[in-house]
């Protein structure tokens, strides 16, 4: 197949530059990568660029990636203005160069959001997601306390719905794409998953209040039904999960759970 020349406009930012100074100190830098093959992945193109920069004695571009097959959720770039690039249902690492033209200029930015501070270049800190999860994204079931796994039958459709929601990889594209930087799709997916299953039922109300409370405290915005999150989600998590999250929240609030503990109000 034919080799392409690709121009990249990449966001570069040194470590330690504070959030307030992001606009003034980070900047786009232009690079050109030659001999790009259509079957290469986008991250392999960045690898190629980094090899070139290293040989030239320049600083390579820092970006996160790990499994490179779309399941770990580590990678995440805004490519040509879209989180995880122009193709639907793919993570950044799954984007192939055949989707771009020879000579094309591609902008590459980190996932931008207040609660995702930039660590360096294209690498952001998404530990806010962990802190939300710690508030209630679990079933309290100590090892050793479980009944036989077939003791509680679960309708296939419920199990499938739970699995649809559980396939979230925690990449943060939903936040990066949302004009409000809301984490509702991420939080909704976890709350939904557990709401479809009998396990953890006693914790449902409390879970919704606590997780949503933490989402607010981290500085994520509210959901105003733009639907951008669903459009960029590499795992096709539906915004139905956000509706379900709201129902869980109201049920929790009306169920007499400690709202103060949840929201800090």
């Amino acid at each position: 197949m034919s080799e392409m020349t690709i121009h990249l406009k990449i966001w570069r930012q040194a470590r330690g530059e504070t959030k307030d100074s992001q606009k003034s100190q980070g900047r786009f830098v232009d690079y050109t990568v030659e001999k790009v093959l259509p079957e290469m992945s986008f991250l392999e193109t960045l690898d190629l660029l980094n090899e070139k920069l290293t040989r030239q004695g320049q600083q390579p571009v820092e970006f996160d990636s790990d499994c490179r097959e779309g399941i770990c959720g580590t990678c995440g770039l805004v490519i040509k203005g879209t989180a995880h690039g122009p193709n639907p249902k793919t993570t950044t690492c799954e984007v192939r160069m055949r989707h771009f033209r020879d000579g094309e200029t591609i902008t590459v930015e980190p996932f931008r959001a207040g609660p995702f501070p930039i660590l360096k270049d294209l690498v952001v800190d998404r530990t806010a997601f962990d802190r939300i999860q710690q508030q209630g994204g679990f079933v309290t079931a100590n090892v050793g306390s479980a009944p036989d796994s077939n003791a509680v039958p679960i309708p296939k459709l419920d199990a499938d719905k739970a699995m649809d929601a559980a396939s979230c990889i925690g990449c943060g594209a939903c936040v990066a794409a949302c004009p409000n930087a809301s984490a509702s799709l991420f939080v909704g997916a976890k709350i939904s998953q557990l709401s479809y299953l009998p396990q953890g039922g006693p914790e449902r109300g409390r879970r919704a209040l606590l997780m949503i409370g933490q989402m607010d405290r981290e500085g994520f915005g509210d959901c105003s039904n733009h639907g951008e999150c669903e459009a960029v989600c590499p795992k096709e998590i539906s915004i139905e999960n956000i509706a379900r999250m709201r129902r869980e929240f109201f049920k929790g609030a009306l169920g007499g759970h400690d709202r103060k503990a949840a929201t800090g109000d």
Partner: protein, 639 residues
């Protein structure tokens, strides 16, 4: 001096060993547990499971991972499923049969007592995971669904679409999250363990690099658990994530832990073939595909017709032909080697000739497209995105790829290494899979070690006491930190002409060509020489950009590749010393007339465990004899 290792297997009948051992392990009273600190490195099924469970029990746990969050540990990428001897399908499964299949699958090179325990614990894993909200596949009646995996004749594999590893790991992650909130587990993401600290002969801590700031940090504990996964990226191209490394276990090896069976590597038969030199990894296509996919090549060498143009009579379904009893579901080592045989005979397909077909046409005819899509849809989508071809219409092209490493740090029945207080769990140890791991058994071992074995045996170690408190002010910590610092400064100071990737790529070529699917004496001897030369060149000519005190991915990789350049040599030495073929270790000199692996039970029915004697010194090979009291040792056959 070579010595005989004692695995400390409890006495008594096989079926009672673990129960009796649990009873004999001393306990730590609930109020005393918080006085003990346990370091756990790794947050996959083994590490995360151990950390969360130790936390539940009340110990003070420090949990480290290189990823930005524990939910991304490489267990996440496992696709097909997890085995358990539940016998929900009423097809004759039992603890005994899972035990038998696993020992046979490992070509009689695993430890009976460990495998039996694994088989016993398998059922509790499924119960625990369901209780934690893992959405396994279910039947319409609401009960759990199962499928088959290679090397067995029952359906005992539980699964969550093609994302079983992800769902099990999210279960672990949720348990960890609960313990972090409870204050029992302290999480250290983006921290890489770079060395082990041994004080008075016991593992007492680690030195880490904070991957964001580059700062070196010390952590002390009463026991250390390593669960850092396998070392397949020694081949450069593998199905593993790009940050998978041997560094933690290799550093422990250099501090005195023995490294067992380093040459036992699993080359998985069904990965997407290599496309070019630019590639950073190979993508796995789950073994579950062989439930419905049929592997074939054209009968005539050099047949370049499109697959649809090759009539049925001119196709060779080589696994069905050679292994009629198991067909396409033979174990991985056998399927991988059979594919290689066909390609070496010129029957390979695709541009490179290093690929075979995995065909779903019959399955689609029998089951319909929707059922096939429900079972494998996500894998088909992945394939199509990479190859730009639709596997619903054209057979997949696949080829074997390095995937899993059965070798790892030597541990006894308590998962304790030869350094007291250093425990090793999951893929990082060597213990349960012998010379070949069966599909869906890695998740089983990770969960068994993490949830059930580590918490018990670590408690036993702590309860026996006799080891006072050590803090990071101890001189041993300072000495280790200085060594690590010098090592990383030295990498930056070389300022040579070739990148880290250049060297990693070269190492991978040597490993794949000479320490890969088929090995022989000449090739292995050449590999040892070439790896030594490469290592020498590395420390004189590598070019690592940036600074130590910064976020610096290239420097991280430089340290890992430096360790791979040492480990690769040990793998070749181990393969050379093992003058037999068994499981994934195939020596061209040792095979049956039909081309199957030929073991030498008289001379090699043992674990080989290597002891580091210092840089530039030859390591010493110790052995642990394998004794089969409950299973009849036979020639493995899947015909």
């Amino acid at each position: 001096m070579s010595r005989i290792l004692d695995a400390k297997i409890p006495s008594g009948p096989l079926a009672d060993k673990w129960d009796r051992h649990e009873m004999e392990c001393p306990l730590v009273a609930p109020a005393n547990r918080r006085k003990f600190t346990v370091i756990v490195v790794g947050t996959g099924l083994a590490g995360g499971g151990a950390a969360a469970t130790l936390g539940e029990l009340g110990y003070n746990v420090l949990n480290f991972c290189v990823q930005d969050t524990p939910r991304r540990a490489h267990s996440v990428a496992a696709q097909g499923g997890i085995n358990a001897s539940k016998n929900y399908q009423n097809d004759g499964d039992s603890v005994e049969r899972l035990f038998y299949d696993t020992v046979k699958g490992g070509d009689y090179r695993s430890r009976e007592a460990n495998v039996y325990r694994l088989s016993q614990l398998s059922m509790g894993i499924i119960d625990q995971c369901v209780a934690m909200g893992v959405p396994f596949a279910r039947e319409y009646g609401g009960t759990l669904a199962n499928r088959s995996f290679g090397g067995v004749q029952v359906s005992r594999t539980f699964y969550a679409r093609g994302q079983t590893g992800q769902q099990l790991l999210l279960g672990v992650y949720s348990a960890l999250s609960r313990q972090v909130a409870a204050g029992t587990v302290k999480m250290f993401p983006r921290h890489e363990m770079l060395d082990l600290v041994v004080v008075d002969g016991r593992a007492r801590g680690i030195v880490c690099r904070d991957l964001v700031t580059g700062e070196m940090k010390r952590y002390a504990a009463d026991a250390v658990v390593l669960a850092t996964g396998g070392y397949s990226p020694v081949f450069y191209l593998s199905t593993n994530a790009v940050n998978c490394s041997a560094t933690s276990i290799w550093r422990a090896y250099k501090r005195g832990a023995l490294f067992a069976n380093p040459c036992y590597t699993q080359i998985h038969p069904t990965a997407i073939p290599q496309l070019g030199d630019y590639q950073s990894k190979l993508t796995l296509m789950s073994e579950s595909l062989r439930n419905d996919g049929r592997m074939w090549v054209p009968k005539a060498p050099g047949d370049k017709r499109r697959p649809a143009d090759i009539p049925e009579a001119e196709r060779d379904y080589f696994l069905e032909r050679r292994y009629p009893a198991f067909g396409n579901l033979v174990p991985r080592d056998i399927a991988a080697r059979a594919s290689k045989v066909e390609c070496d005979a010129g029957k390979g397909v695709g541009n490179t000739g290093f690929a075979v077909y995995l065909d779903f046409a019959d399955a689609i005819k029998r089951l319909g497209r929707d059922v096939v899509a429900d079972r494998y849809g996500n894998l088909f989508t992945m394939y199509e995105e990479i190859i730009a071809d639709d596997p619903y219409h054209t057979p997949m092209m696949i080829y074997p790829a390095p995937h899993y490493t059965m070798g790892g740090l030597w541990v006894d029945y308590n998962l304790e290494s030869t350094i007291p207080g250093l425990f090793v769990a999951g893929e990082a140890n060597f213990s349960d899979h012998g010379a070949n791991r069966l599909g869906a058994s890695a998740l089983m071992q990770g969960c068994a070690d993490g949830y059930f074995v580590v918490p018990r045996v670590v408690a036993g170690y702590l309860a026996r006491g006799g080891h006072g408190k050590v803090t990071t002010d101890h001189e041993a910590f300072g000495a280790v930190e200085d060594e690590v610092r010098r090592r990383y400064d030295a990498l930056l100071a070389v300022k040579g002409s070739r990148t880290v990737r250049d060297f990693h790529w070269d190492l991978g070529r040597v490993m794949w060509d000479k320490v890969g699917m088929a090995r022989d004496r000449t090739g292995l001897e050449q590999a040892i020489t070439q790896i030594r030369e490469l290592r020498e060149a590395y420390w004189h000519d590598v070019k690592v950009p940036g600074e130590a005190a910064d976020f610096n991915k290239q420097l991280e990789m430089a340290g890992r590749v430096a360790d791979f350049l040492e480990l690769g040599e040990l793998m070749a030495m181990d393969a050379l010393a093992r003058e037999e073929s068994c499981g994934g270790h195939f020596r061209a000199e040792h095979h049956t007339p039909e081309g199957e692996a030929r073991r030498d039970d008289e001379n090699f029915m043992h674990v080989a465990a290597w002891e580091h004697k210092g840089d530039g010194q030859a390591p010493v090979r110790h052995v642990e004899p394998l004794v089969y009291e409950n299973i009849e040792v036979k020639t493995r056959s899947y015909k």
